[in-house]
Protein backbone atom coordinates (compact mmCIF):
# COMPACT_ATOMS: atom_id res chain seq x y z
CA UNK A 1 0.00 0.00 0.00
CA UNK A 2 2.64 2.46 1.12
CA UNK A 3 4.98 1.14 -1.55
CA UNK A 4 2.42 1.76 -4.31
CA UNK A 5 1.88 5.22 -2.93
CA UNK A 6 5.60 5.84 -3.14
CA UNK A 7 5.74 4.73 -6.79
CA UNK A 8 2.77 6.97 -7.53
CA UNK A 9 4.38 9.96 -5.87
CA UNK A 10 7.67 9.45 -7.70
CA UNK A 11 5.79 9.11 -11.00
CA UNK A 12 3.75 12.25 -10.36
CA UNK A 13 6.84 14.27 -9.42
CA UNK A 14 8.59 13.04 -12.53
CA UNK A 15 5.68 13.97 -14.79
CA UNK A 16 5.29 17.37 -13.12
CA UNK A 17 8.99 18.11 -13.60
CA UNK A 18 8.91 16.94 -17.21
CA UNK A 19 5.92 19.14 -17.90
CA UNK A 20 7.49 22.13 -16.21
CA UNK A 21 10.72 21.66 -18.13
CA UNK A 22 8.78 21.26 -21.38
CA UNK A 23 6.89 24.51 -20.86
CA UNK A 24 10.08 26.27 -19.80
CA UNK A 25 11.88 25.08 -22.94
CA UNK A 26 9.10 26.12 -25.32
CA UNK A 27 8.83 29.49 -23.59
CA UNK A 28 12.60 30.07 -23.71
CA UNK A 29 12.97 29.09 -27.36
CA UNK A 30 10.06 31.26 -28.42
CA UNK A 31 11.74 34.22 -26.72
CA UNK A 32 15.00 33.41 -28.52
CA UNK A 33 13.24 33.72 -31.86
CA UNK A 34 11.14 36.84 -31.28
CA UNK A 35 12.50 40.39 -31.07
CA UNK A 36 13.50 42.47 -29.21
CA UNK A 37 16.93 40.96 -28.68
CA UNK A 38 19.21 42.17 -25.93
CA UNK A 39 22.29 42.35 -28.14
CA UNK A 40 24.57 43.67 -25.38
CA UNK A 41 23.62 40.79 -23.12
CA UNK A 42 24.09 38.21 -25.86
CA UNK A 43 27.52 39.70 -26.53
CA UNK A 44 28.66 39.66 -22.91
CA UNK A 45 27.39 36.12 -22.46
CA UNK A 46 29.23 35.04 -25.61
CA UNK A 47 32.46 36.42 -24.24
CA UNK A 48 31.85 34.82 -20.87
CA UNK A 49 30.95 31.42 -22.28
CA UNK A 50 33.26 31.32 -25.28
CA UNK A 51 36.34 33.26 -24.40
CA UNK A 52 36.65 32.46 -20.70
CA UNK A 53 36.08 28.75 -21.27
CA UNK A 54 38.99 28.55 -23.70
CA UNK A 55 41.70 27.72 -21.13
CA UNK A 56 39.69 24.92 -19.55
CA UNK A 57 38.60 23.42 -22.83
CA UNK A 58 41.99 23.93 -24.47
CA UNK A 59 43.95 22.21 -21.70
CA UNK A 60 41.49 19.33 -21.55
CA UNK A 61 41.72 18.86 -25.30
CA UNK A 62 45.52 19.07 -25.43
CA UNK A 63 46.15 16.39 -22.83
CA UNK A 64 43.32 14.14 -23.95
CA UNK A 65 44.58 14.25 -27.53
CA UNK A 66 48.05 13.30 -26.36
CA UNK A 67 46.74 10.46 -24.16
CA UNK A 68 44.58 9.18 -26.98
CA UNK A 69 47.57 9.00 -29.32
CA UNK A 70 49.66 7.24 -26.69
CA UNK A 71 46.95 4.71 -25.87
CA UNK A 72 46.24 3.88 -29.48
CA UNK A 73 49.92 3.47 -30.19
CA UNK A 74 50.43 1.17 -27.20
CA UNK A 75 47.21 -0.76 -27.72
CA UNK A 76 47.59 -0.89 -31.49
CA UNK A 77 51.09 -2.29 -31.26
CA UNK A 78 49.58 -5.61 -30.07
CA UNK A 79 48.28 -6.22 -33.58
CA UNK A 80 50.75 -4.14 -35.56
CA UNK A 81 48.35 -1.24 -36.07
CA UNK A 82 50.60 1.57 -34.80
CA UNK A 83 50.22 3.35 -38.12
CA UNK A 84 46.52 3.94 -37.46
CA UNK A 85 47.29 6.47 -34.71
CA UNK A 86 46.75 9.61 -36.83
CA UNK A 87 43.46 8.40 -38.30
CA UNK A 88 41.99 7.20 -35.05
CA UNK A 89 43.03 10.29 -33.15
CA UNK A 90 41.41 12.65 -35.61
CA UNK A 91 38.19 10.68 -35.99
CA UNK A 92 37.89 9.85 -32.33
CA UNK A 93 38.57 13.38 -31.28
CA UNK A 94 36.46 15.23 -33.81
CA UNK A 95 33.51 12.89 -33.62
CA UNK A 96 33.40 12.16 -29.91
CA UNK A 97 35.97 13.45 -27.49
CA UNK A 98 36.02 17.08 -28.64
CA UNK A 99 32.31 17.76 -28.31
CA UNK A 100 31.68 15.51 -25.31
CA UNK A 101 34.63 16.60 -23.21
CA UNK A 102 34.20 20.22 -24.25
CA UNK A 103 30.51 20.00 -23.42
CA UNK A 104 31.12 18.43 -20.02
CA UNK A 105 33.83 20.91 -19.07
CA UNK A 106 31.69 23.86 -20.08
CA UNK A 107 28.70 22.32 -18.28
CA UNK A 108 30.70 22.33 -15.07
CA UNK A 109 31.74 25.91 -15.55
CA UNK A 110 28.81 27.61 -17.23
CA UNK A 111 25.72 25.67 -16.08
CA UNK A 112 26.79 26.09 -12.50
CA UNK A 113 27.45 29.80 -12.90
CA UNK A 114 24.13 30.39 -14.63
CA UNK A 115 22.18 28.43 -12.03
CA UNK A 116 23.91 30.29 -9.20
CA UNK A 117 23.40 33.71 -10.76
CA UNK A 118 19.77 33.27 -11.79
CA UNK A 119 19.02 31.35 -8.59
CA UNK A 120 20.36 34.19 -6.47
CA UNK A 121 18.29 36.63 -8.50
CA UNK A 122 15.26 34.47 -7.82
CA UNK A 123 15.69 34.19 -4.07
CA UNK A 124 16.54 37.88 -3.63
CA UNK A 125 13.38 38.83 -5.59
CA UNK A 126 15.42 40.38 -8.42
CA UNK A 127 13.44 38.33 -10.94
CA UNK A 128 10.19 39.65 -9.46
CA UNK A 129 11.64 43.14 -9.70
CA UNK A 130 12.44 42.55 -13.38
CA UNK A 131 8.86 41.52 -13.99
CA UNK A 132 7.46 44.60 -12.29
CA UNK A 133 9.75 46.77 -14.40
CA UNK A 134 7.89 45.32 -17.40
CA UNK A 135 10.90 43.28 -18.51
CA UNK A 136 10.30 39.62 -19.23
CA UNK A 137 12.96 37.57 -17.42
CA UNK A 138 12.85 35.04 -20.24
CA UNK A 139 13.74 37.74 -22.71
CA UNK A 140 16.28 39.52 -20.54
CA UNK A 141 18.01 36.68 -18.69
CA UNK A 142 17.32 33.38 -20.38
CA UNK A 143 17.18 34.04 -24.13
CA UNK A 144 20.62 35.75 -24.25
CA UNK A 145 22.21 32.84 -22.40
CA UNK A 146 20.59 30.22 -24.62
CA UNK A 147 21.54 32.04 -27.81
CA UNK A 148 25.09 32.69 -26.66
CA UNK A 149 25.72 29.13 -25.49
CA UNK A 150 24.23 27.55 -28.60
CA UNK A 151 26.41 29.74 -30.82
CA UNK A 152 29.62 29.63 -28.79
CA UNK A 153 29.87 25.91 -28.06
CA UNK A 154 30.49 25.01 -31.73
CA UNK A 155 33.29 27.60 -31.84
CA UNK A 156 34.79 26.23 -28.63
CA UNK A 157 34.55 22.65 -29.82
CA UNK A 158 36.14 23.55 -33.13
CA UNK A 159 39.08 24.96 -31.21
CA UNK A 160 39.08 21.89 -28.95
CA UNK A 161 39.15 19.60 -32.00
CA UNK A 162 42.15 21.42 -33.44
CA UNK A 163 44.01 21.46 -30.13
CA UNK A 164 43.17 17.82 -29.44
CA UNK A 165 44.49 16.71 -32.81
CA UNK A 166 47.51 18.91 -32.24
CA UNK A 167 48.06 17.19 -28.88
CA UNK A 168 48.08 13.83 -30.63
CA UNK A 169 50.39 15.22 -33.31
CA UNK A 170 52.90 16.64 -30.84
CA UNK A 171 53.08 13.42 -28.85
CA UNK A 172 53.29 11.20 -31.94
CA UNK A 173 56.02 13.17 -33.66
CA UNK A 174 57.92 14.07 -30.53
CA UNK A 175 57.83 10.84 -28.53
CA UNK A 176 56.67 8.09 -30.85
CA UNK A 177 58.85 9.06 -33.79
CA UNK A 178 56.17 9.60 -36.44
CA UNK A 179 57.06 11.64 -39.49
CA UNK A 180 55.26 14.99 -39.13
CA UNK A 181 54.39 15.35 -42.81
CA UNK A 182 53.01 11.85 -43.07
CA UNK A 183 51.06 12.23 -39.84
CA UNK A 184 49.39 15.41 -41.03
CA UNK A 185 48.61 13.91 -44.43
CA UNK A 186 46.92 10.89 -42.85
CA UNK A 187 44.97 13.18 -40.55
CA UNK A 188 43.64 15.24 -43.43
CA UNK A 189 42.93 12.17 -45.54
CA UNK A 190 40.92 10.45 -42.85
CA UNK A 191 38.84 13.45 -41.86
CA UNK A 192 35.51 13.76 -43.63
CA UNK A 193 32.97 16.52 -43.90
CA UNK A 194 30.43 14.54 -41.85
CA UNK A 195 32.86 14.20 -38.94
CA UNK A 196 33.26 17.94 -38.60
CA UNK A 197 29.56 18.54 -39.15
CA UNK A 198 28.56 16.07 -36.45
CA UNK A 199 31.07 17.65 -34.10
CA UNK A 200 29.55 21.08 -34.58
CA UNK A 201 25.95 19.92 -34.42
CA UNK A 202 26.67 18.06 -31.20
CA UNK A 203 28.35 21.15 -29.80
CA UNK A 204 25.32 23.28 -30.63
CA UNK A 205 22.98 20.81 -28.96
CA UNK A 206 25.23 20.59 -25.89
CA UNK A 207 25.44 24.36 -25.66
CA UNK A 208 21.67 24.59 -25.69
CA UNK A 209 21.42 21.91 -22.98
CA UNK A 210 24.04 23.61 -20.81
CA UNK A 211 22.30 26.97 -20.86
CA UNK A 212 18.84 25.46 -20.57
CA UNK A 213 19.74 23.43 -17.47
CA UNK A 214 21.55 26.34 -15.83
CA UNK A 215 18.64 28.69 -16.44
CA UNK A 216 15.92 26.18 -15.60
CA UNK A 217 17.36 25.16 -12.26
CA UNK A 218 18.26 28.73 -11.36
CA UNK A 219 14.85 30.05 -12.33
CA UNK A 220 13.02 27.46 -10.25
CA UNK A 221 15.31 27.58 -7.23
CA UNK A 222 13.83 28.54 -3.89
CA UNK A 223 14.75 28.83 -0.27
CA UNK A 224 17.84 30.99 0.13
CA UNK A 225 21.48 30.05 -0.17
CA UNK A 226 20.82 26.36 0.30
CA UNK A 227 18.27 26.38 -2.50
CA UNK A 228 20.75 28.04 -4.81
CA UNK A 229 23.34 25.39 -3.89
CA UNK A 230 20.90 22.62 -4.75
CA UNK A 231 20.03 24.34 -8.03
CA UNK A 232 23.70 24.61 -8.96
CA UNK A 233 24.36 20.94 -8.31
CA UNK A 234 21.24 19.87 -10.16
CA UNK A 235 22.15 22.05 -13.12
CA UNK A 236 25.58 20.49 -13.55
CA UNK A 237 24.41 16.92 -12.98
CA UNK A 238 21.40 17.14 -15.28
CA UNK A 239 23.34 18.99 -17.97
CA UNK A 240 26.06 16.33 -17.91
CA UNK A 241 23.60 13.46 -18.12
CA UNK A 242 21.59 15.09 -20.87
CA UNK A 243 24.79 15.79 -22.82
CA UNK A 244 25.75 12.12 -22.74
CA UNK A 245 22.23 11.03 -23.68
CA UNK A 246 21.83 13.47 -26.52
CA UNK A 247 25.33 12.58 -27.71
CA UNK A 248 24.06 9.08 -28.37
CA UNK A 249 20.98 10.37 -30.19
CA UNK A 250 22.92 12.73 -32.46
CA UNK A 251 25.54 10.06 -33.21
CA UNK A 252 22.76 7.64 -34.13
CA UNK A 253 21.18 10.23 -36.43
CA UNK A 254 24.45 11.02 -38.18
CA UNK A 255 26.19 7.72 -38.59
CA UNK A 256 23.66 4.88 -38.64
CA UNK A 257 22.85 4.36 -42.29
Amino acid sequence: MNFLGLIGRVMLTFLATAGRLGIFTVNSVSHCLRPPFFIRHIGSQMINIGYYSLPVVGLTALFTGAVLALQIYEGGSRFNAESAVAGIVVIGFVRELGPVLGGLMVAGRVSAAMAAEIGTMRVTEQIDALTTLATDPFKYLIAPRLIAATLMLPCLVLVADVIGVAGGFILSTDKLGFNPGAYLKTTVDYLEYDDVMSSLVKAGVFGFIIALMGCYHGYHSRGGAQGVGVATTNAVVSASILILMSNYVVTELFFSQ
Partner: protein
Protein backbone atom coordinates in the same frame (compact mmCIF):
# COMPACT_ATOMS: atom_id res chain seq x y z
CA UNK B 1 -9.61 58.55 -17.37
CA UNK B 2 -12.42 60.59 -15.87
CA UNK B 3 -11.64 60.88 -12.22
CA UNK B 4 -14.81 62.75 -11.36
CA UNK B 5 -17.45 60.49 -12.84
CA UNK B 6 -20.61 60.25 -10.76
CA UNK B 7 -20.14 56.52 -10.17
CA UNK B 8 -16.71 56.42 -8.57
CA UNK B 9 -14.72 53.39 -9.63
CA UNK B 10 -11.86 52.42 -7.34
CA UNK B 11 -8.45 52.32 -9.00
CA UNK B 12 -7.63 49.05 -7.32
CA UNK B 13 -10.34 46.72 -6.18
CA UNK B 14 -9.87 43.32 -4.55
CA UNK B 15 -12.69 40.91 -3.80
CA UNK B 16 -12.33 37.66 -1.91
CA UNK B 17 -8.66 37.18 -2.72
CA UNK B 18 -7.33 33.93 -1.31
CA UNK B 19 -3.80 32.59 -1.37
CA UNK B 20 -2.31 29.59 0.34
CA UNK B 21 1.09 27.98 0.32
CA UNK B 22 0.57 24.26 0.74
CA UNK B 23 -1.57 23.84 3.84
CA UNK B 24 -0.79 27.34 5.10
CA UNK B 25 -3.57 29.80 4.34
CA UNK B 26 -2.05 33.28 4.06
CA UNK B 27 -4.85 35.33 2.49
CA UNK B 28 -8.34 34.20 3.31
CA UNK B 29 -10.71 36.41 1.37
CA UNK B 30 -9.24 39.91 1.28
CA UNK B 31 -11.44 42.80 0.14
CA UNK B 32 -9.83 46.15 -0.55
CA UNK B 33 -10.67 49.31 -2.47
CA UNK B 34 -8.17 52.06 -3.24
CA UNK B 35 -9.38 55.15 -5.06
CA UNK B 36 -7.49 57.00 -7.74
CA UNK B 37 -4.83 59.26 -6.23
CA UNK B 38 -5.32 57.86 -2.78
CA UNK B 39 -2.61 56.76 -0.36
CA UNK B 40 -3.54 53.50 1.28
CA UNK B 41 -1.46 52.17 4.13
CA UNK B 42 -1.65 48.54 5.16
CA UNK B 43 -0.60 47.60 8.64
CA UNK B 44 -0.52 44.22 10.30
CA UNK B 45 1.72 41.88 12.20
CA UNK B 46 4.81 40.30 10.77
CA UNK B 47 3.98 37.34 8.56
CA UNK B 48 0.30 38.18 8.08
CA UNK B 49 0.66 38.28 4.29
CA UNK B 50 1.03 41.97 3.52
CA UNK B 51 3.85 41.40 1.04
CA UNK B 52 1.98 38.45 -0.45
CA UNK B 53 -1.06 40.69 -0.96
CA UNK B 54 0.72 43.27 -3.10
CA UNK B 55 2.57 40.56 -5.00
CA UNK B 56 -0.82 39.11 -5.88
CA UNK B 57 -1.95 42.48 -7.25
CA UNK B 58 1.17 42.67 -9.41
CA UNK B 59 0.71 39.11 -10.59
CA UNK B 60 4.06 37.96 -9.20
CA UNK B 61 2.00 35.48 -7.22
CA UNK B 62 -1.22 34.06 -8.60
CA UNK B 63 -4.10 34.14 -6.13
CA UNK B 64 -6.00 30.88 -5.74
CA UNK B 65 -9.37 32.60 -5.77
CA UNK B 66 -10.91 36.02 -5.99
CA UNK B 67 -10.88 38.99 -8.29
CA UNK B 68 -8.31 41.78 -8.61
CA UNK B 69 -9.33 44.74 -10.72
CA UNK B 70 -6.98 47.58 -11.59
CA UNK B 71 -8.60 50.48 -13.40
CA UNK B 72 -11.63 48.26 -13.95
CA UNK B 73 -9.62 45.55 -15.73
CA UNK B 74 -9.38 42.06 -14.27
CA UNK B 75 -5.65 41.73 -13.65
CA UNK B 76 -5.42 38.03 -12.92
CA UNK B 77 -6.12 36.98 -16.50
CA UNK B 78 -3.76 39.28 -18.41
CA UNK B 79 -1.16 37.68 -20.69
CA UNK B 80 1.65 38.78 -22.98
CA UNK B 81 1.47 42.34 -24.33
CA UNK B 82 -1.53 43.28 -22.19
CA UNK B 83 0.27 42.20 -19.06
CA UNK B 84 3.34 44.13 -20.14
CA UNK B 85 1.27 47.29 -20.56
CA UNK B 86 -0.42 46.61 -17.23
CA UNK B 87 2.92 46.33 -15.44
CA UNK B 88 4.20 49.57 -16.96
CA UNK B 89 1.66 51.38 -14.78
CA UNK B 90 3.32 50.12 -11.62
CA UNK B 91 6.33 50.94 -9.53
CA UNK B 92 7.31 48.73 -6.65
CA UNK B 93 9.74 49.01 -3.78
CA UNK B 94 10.53 45.52 -2.55
CA UNK B 95 10.95 44.81 1.11
CA UNK B 96 14.52 43.60 0.49
CA UNK B 97 15.19 46.31 -2.13
CA UNK B 98 15.87 43.59 -4.79
CA UNK B 99 18.41 45.70 -6.67
CA UNK B 100 20.06 44.14 -9.72
CA UNK B 101 23.54 43.47 -8.40
CA UNK B 102 25.03 43.05 -11.86
CA UNK B 103 24.23 46.68 -12.73
CA UNK B 104 25.52 49.94 -11.26
CA UNK B 105 23.16 52.02 -9.16
CA UNK B 106 22.27 54.49 -11.92
CA UNK B 107 21.25 51.70 -14.28
CA UNK B 108 19.14 50.21 -11.53
CA UNK B 109 17.33 53.49 -11.04
CA UNK B 110 16.62 54.01 -14.73
CA UNK B 111 16.06 50.35 -15.56
CA UNK B 112 12.36 50.68 -16.30
CA UNK B 113 12.80 53.79 -18.42
CA UNK B 114 15.62 52.19 -20.39
CA UNK B 115 13.66 48.97 -20.86
CA UNK B 116 10.68 50.88 -22.22
CA UNK B 117 13.08 52.97 -24.35
CA UNK B 118 11.67 56.17 -22.90
CA UNK B 119 15.16 57.63 -22.48
CA UNK B 120 18.55 57.01 -24.04
CA UNK B 121 21.45 55.60 -22.07
CA UNK B 122 23.34 58.90 -22.26
CA UNK B 123 20.55 60.81 -20.55
CA UNK B 124 19.85 58.04 -18.07
CA UNK B 125 22.81 58.73 -15.81
CA UNK B 126 21.96 62.37 -15.27
CA UNK B 127 18.35 61.55 -14.61
CA UNK B 128 19.38 58.84 -12.14
CA UNK B 129 21.55 61.31 -10.23
CA UNK B 130 18.61 63.68 -10.01
CA UNK B 131 16.26 61.01 -8.68
CA UNK B 132 18.92 59.79 -6.24
CA UNK B 133 19.11 63.34 -4.84
CA UNK B 134 15.41 63.17 -4.07
CA UNK B 135 15.96 60.12 -1.88
CA UNK B 136 18.91 61.79 -0.16
CA UNK B 137 21.77 60.07 -1.96
CA UNK B 138 24.86 61.80 -3.34
CA UNK B 139 25.78 61.75 -7.01
CA UNK B 140 28.85 59.56 -6.44
CA UNK B 141 26.59 56.71 -5.35
CA UNK B 142 25.38 56.41 -8.94
CA UNK B 143 28.47 54.58 -10.12
CA UNK B 144 28.71 52.14 -7.23
CA UNK B 145 27.38 48.62 -7.40
CA UNK B 146 24.45 47.79 -5.08
CA UNK B 147 26.66 45.45 -3.03
CA UNK B 148 28.74 48.45 -1.98
CA UNK B 149 25.80 50.20 -0.29
CA UNK B 150 24.46 49.92 3.23
CA UNK B 151 21.04 48.38 3.78
CA UNK B 152 19.31 51.72 4.19
CA UNK B 153 21.01 53.11 1.09
CA UNK B 154 19.90 50.08 -0.92
CA UNK B 155 16.38 50.70 0.26
CA UNK B 156 16.54 54.29 -0.96
CA UNK B 157 17.92 53.20 -4.34
CA UNK B 158 15.01 50.75 -4.52
CA UNK B 159 12.71 53.65 -3.78
CA UNK B 160 14.35 55.75 -6.50
CA UNK B 161 13.85 52.89 -8.95
CA UNK B 162 10.19 52.57 -7.98
CA UNK B 163 9.39 56.22 -8.62
CA UNK B 164 11.76 56.87 -11.56
CA UNK B 165 9.20 56.18 -14.27
CA UNK B 166 6.56 58.28 -12.47
CA UNK B 167 4.10 55.37 -12.48
CA UNK B 168 0.35 55.64 -11.94
CA UNK B 169 0.42 53.16 -9.10
CA UNK B 170 3.26 52.66 -6.64
CA UNK B 171 3.64 50.01 -3.97
CA UNK B 172 6.04 50.58 -1.11
CA UNK B 173 6.88 47.55 0.99
CA UNK B 174 8.23 48.89 4.28
CA UNK B 175 9.92 52.00 2.81
CA UNK B 176 11.31 53.27 6.11
CA UNK B 177 12.53 50.07 7.75
CA UNK B 178 16.24 50.29 8.38
CA UNK B 179 16.40 54.08 8.09
CA UNK B 180 17.20 56.58 10.80
CA UNK B 181 14.22 58.67 12.00
CA UNK B 182 15.25 61.77 10.08
CA UNK B 183 15.75 59.94 6.80
CA UNK B 184 12.53 58.04 7.44
CA UNK B 185 10.72 61.36 7.61
CA UNK B 186 12.37 62.51 4.37
CA UNK B 187 11.16 59.34 2.68
CA UNK B 188 7.68 59.77 4.09
CA UNK B 189 7.55 63.28 2.66
CA UNK B 190 8.73 61.92 -0.67
CA UNK B 191 5.88 59.43 -0.72
CA UNK B 192 3.42 62.21 0.10
CA UNK B 193 4.90 64.19 -2.81
CA UNK B 194 4.44 61.25 -5.15
CA UNK B 195 0.77 61.17 -4.34
CA UNK B 196 0.27 64.91 -4.47
CA UNK B 197 2.50 65.91 -7.40
CA UNK B 198 2.37 62.85 -9.62
CA UNK B 199 -1.18 61.97 -8.64
CA UNK B 200 -0.07 58.40 -8.11
CA UNK B 201 -2.17 55.87 -6.29
CA UNK B 202 -0.05 54.23 -3.63
CA UNK B 203 -0.23 51.28 -1.31
CA UNK B 204 2.33 51.38 1.48
CA UNK B 205 3.07 48.59 3.89
CA UNK B 206 4.57 49.70 7.14
CA UNK B 207 4.96 48.92 10.81
CA UNK B 208 5.96 52.46 11.56
CA UNK B 209 3.09 54.48 13.07
CA UNK B 210 4.86 57.76 12.29
CA UNK B 211 4.71 56.81 8.61
CA UNK B 212 1.07 55.89 8.89
CA UNK B 213 0.19 59.25 10.37
CA UNK B 214 2.22 61.13 7.81
CA UNK B 215 1.34 59.46 4.53
CA UNK B 216 -1.97 57.67 4.87
CA UNK B 217 -5.30 58.78 3.45
CA UNK B 218 -6.79 55.46 4.37
CA UNK B 219 -5.54 52.68 6.61
CA UNK B 220 -6.28 48.98 6.45
CA UNK B 221 -5.31 46.32 8.92
CA UNK B 222 -4.60 42.76 7.81
CA UNK B 223 -5.04 40.03 10.39
CA UNK B 224 -5.39 36.27 9.91
CA UNK B 225 -5.79 36.61 6.14
CA UNK B 226 -8.55 39.21 6.22
CA UNK B 227 -8.85 42.99 6.16
CA UNK B 228 -10.32 43.34 9.61
CA UNK B 229 -10.55 47.12 9.53
CA UNK B 230 -10.30 49.86 6.94
CA UNK B 231 -10.98 53.50 7.46
CA UNK B 232 -9.64 57.01 7.01
CA UNK B 233 -6.56 57.99 8.98
CA UNK B 234 -8.57 60.33 11.20
CA UNK B 235 -10.55 57.40 12.57
CA UNK B 236 -7.62 55.22 13.42
CA UNK B 237 -7.47 56.32 17.05
CA UNK B 238 -11.20 55.92 17.52
CA UNK B 239 -11.71 52.81 15.43
CA UNK B 240 -13.29 50.92 18.29
CA UNK B 241 -11.47 47.86 16.98
CA UNK B 242 -9.40 46.28 19.71
CA UNK B 243 -7.01 44.65 17.24
CA UNK B 244 -6.23 48.02 15.68
CA UNK B 245 -5.89 49.63 19.10
CA UNK B 246 -3.47 46.99 20.26
CA UNK B 247 -1.41 47.34 17.06
CA UNK B 248 -1.12 51.12 16.98
CA UNK B 249 -0.16 51.25 20.62
CA UNK B 250 2.16 48.29 20.32
CA UNK B 251 0.86 46.50 23.39
CA UNK B 252 1.80 42.93 24.15
CA UNK B 253 -1.55 42.37 25.88
CA UNK B 254 -4.69 42.22 23.82
CA UNK B 255 -6.63 40.05 21.39
CA UNK B 256 -3.59 39.48 19.14
CA UNK B 257 -1.53 36.78 20.78
CA UNK B 258 2.07 36.33 19.87
CA UNK B 259 3.01 32.69 20.13
CA UNK B 260 6.15 33.16 22.11
CA UNK B 261 7.52 30.72 24.61
CA UNK B 262 7.42 32.40 28.00
CA UNK B 263 10.49 31.72 30.09
Amino acid sequence: MTGTSTQRMPKISLRGVKKRFGPKVVLDGVDLDVDDGESMVIIGGSGTGKSVLIKCILGILTPDEGSIKVGGVEATRLRGKERQAFLEKFGMLFQGAALFDSLPVWENVCFGLLAEKRIRRKEARDLAVEILRQVGLEADVANLSPAELSGGMQKRVGLARAIAAKPEIIFFDEPTTGLDPIMADVINSLIVDCVQDLGSTTITITHDMASVRKIADKVGMLYKGKMIWTGPKSEIDSSGNEYVDQFIHGRAEGPIHMDILKL
